[in-house]
Amino acid sequence: MLIYFLQRLVSVIPVALGVSLICFMLVHIAPGDPLTAVMPVDATAEQQAEMRAAYGFDKPLPVQFVLWLGNALTGDLGTSIASGRPVADEVMRAVGNSLILAFFASAIGFPLGILFGFLAGTYKNGVVDKVITGIAIAGVSVPNYWLGMVLVVIFSVSLGWLPSMGAGPGGSTEWAWDWEHLRFIILPAITLAAVPMGIVTRTVRALVADIRSNDFVTALYAKGLMSRHVVAHVIRNAAPTALSVVGIQLGYLLGGSILIETVFNWPGTGFLLSNAIFQRDLPLLQGTILVLALFFVVTNLLVDLAQPLIDPRIRRT
């Protein structure tokens, strides 16, 4: 088991390196120089060269990568071209808000998805299954940025129950766990939860239906066990796969909320990204994407590490 943990930990290193390389290259596949977008049009060649040297863009690419990676490891993600502030500060502030949103979306989407999937898988081909399968396929098919707009139209514009955008009276920096703030998160969290709910439902349904078709389930019934005891066995068998799907979806919630944060003006990483895109602020873009991708890598690692704790089959290998 210790060997499994170590293997997983070590295997993350090349992936993390590759992720950094891709993030680094993002700036360099961009047409022109990362600085052309922000440089005044009348800048002389000398001024341009000076700027380039100041940002280190005059060195060969591999050297730049090593320097950039070294800085990133010490927590220095460069300076935002548009605002002049350190990228790391901006990203860290925004990540907190995205995490809060992802937390609420998980709290809505995962329990619902698991419950729905379980019911549908247990009563496969029945009415319950038909209804749930319909909800799930709608969940995975809906463009969530549009769902957000529809919810705003219904609950903010027509009914006036919930605010349509922003993160509450405290603005982007001060989040508090009270109703004044919570009401701002309800609509974005529901919107963000739709797709993972659908995916988890579909996976768990297939999983439970598959497990229930096994001989051991028939044997349990034949032995005279009541349904609720059989359910416990099914849950135990479904848990590892369900956990890994939920884990992957958790990573998606954090990185995939950009469109929803744009719709709701939620001051998280997605909002930061869309600002970076509009201002062609490449260091900010690069830093935000690096942090989000590394979060995703770490979530996946944690899921893998948790896997043997609930699945004895992995422990034995």
């Binding site: 709608a138 549009w146 139209v153 998606y252 995939g256 869309s274 994407i289 995703f296």
Partner: protein, 298 residues
Amino acid sequence: MASIGTSIAASGPPKAVVRSKGYWSGVGARLRRDPVALVFGTFLFAIIGAAIFAPYLGLQDPYAGSMVSRLKPVGTPGHLLGTDELGRDMLARLIYGGRLTLLLGLLPVLFAFMIGTVLGVLAGFVGGLVNAVIMRTVDVFFAFPSVLLAIAISAALGAGIINSIVSLTLVFIPPITRVAESVTASVRNLEYVDAARISGASAFTVVRVHVLGNVVSPIFVYATSLTSVSMILAAGLSFLGLGVKPPEAEWGLMLNTLRSAIYINPLIAALPGVMIFITSLCLNLLSDSLRTAMNIKD
């Protein structure tokens, strides 16, 4: 052995060769018996057909605006589905909009299907170092949530139709490669592949005839399951201002420009999203039906 011999002997003179129905006609027959596939397939067919033949449908000019008739409600005479924020006919724009959205959604999956199949079959068949290089690269791309990767590459490349197709193709190559690699690896060591190799077939022939023939269908079905995500992402890129530029008619972009109209005419503002939703629903349901009809398990 004896019983086989006798049964052959007993079957008498050879009859006329009856061509077997074949795999694909079986799949087609199963799809035709599937009510879900029939209904939503027809729907999708209608949407795609309308998009292709848009210029011949007698629609209004999707780019001709009128300042006096902006944001007219659904059912306005002359504008069946109302008008947008610049007074352009919504029905025409929705039908024309399908052309770009469908193109931007389907082309990347098609390209990724071709490239990913080649990479995956190569990795799965050759194995060794080639496999390691291809699959470890794929792993790195898997470390990005697909939305994030699409937005990151598009943002770096800049807005535009071509860039949007390039970035989405890059997003879908890794998952398709991974599926292609795993099905190829499972086919590679089967007896009939060994038999072909022993009987002197070149590696190329083995791959072309024996491997591709058996791996293409599962990879294809997997690719079809990506089309709806691809279309939602493509429209999402335009929604963010990273894909198509105004005044082009495209569902994601229309949703973006109509966003400010949700307070005035919410129904009109929601229409482009309804189109994305319906199309993606059709794509997902059809992909599910296809998977069942082809009897493919994950």
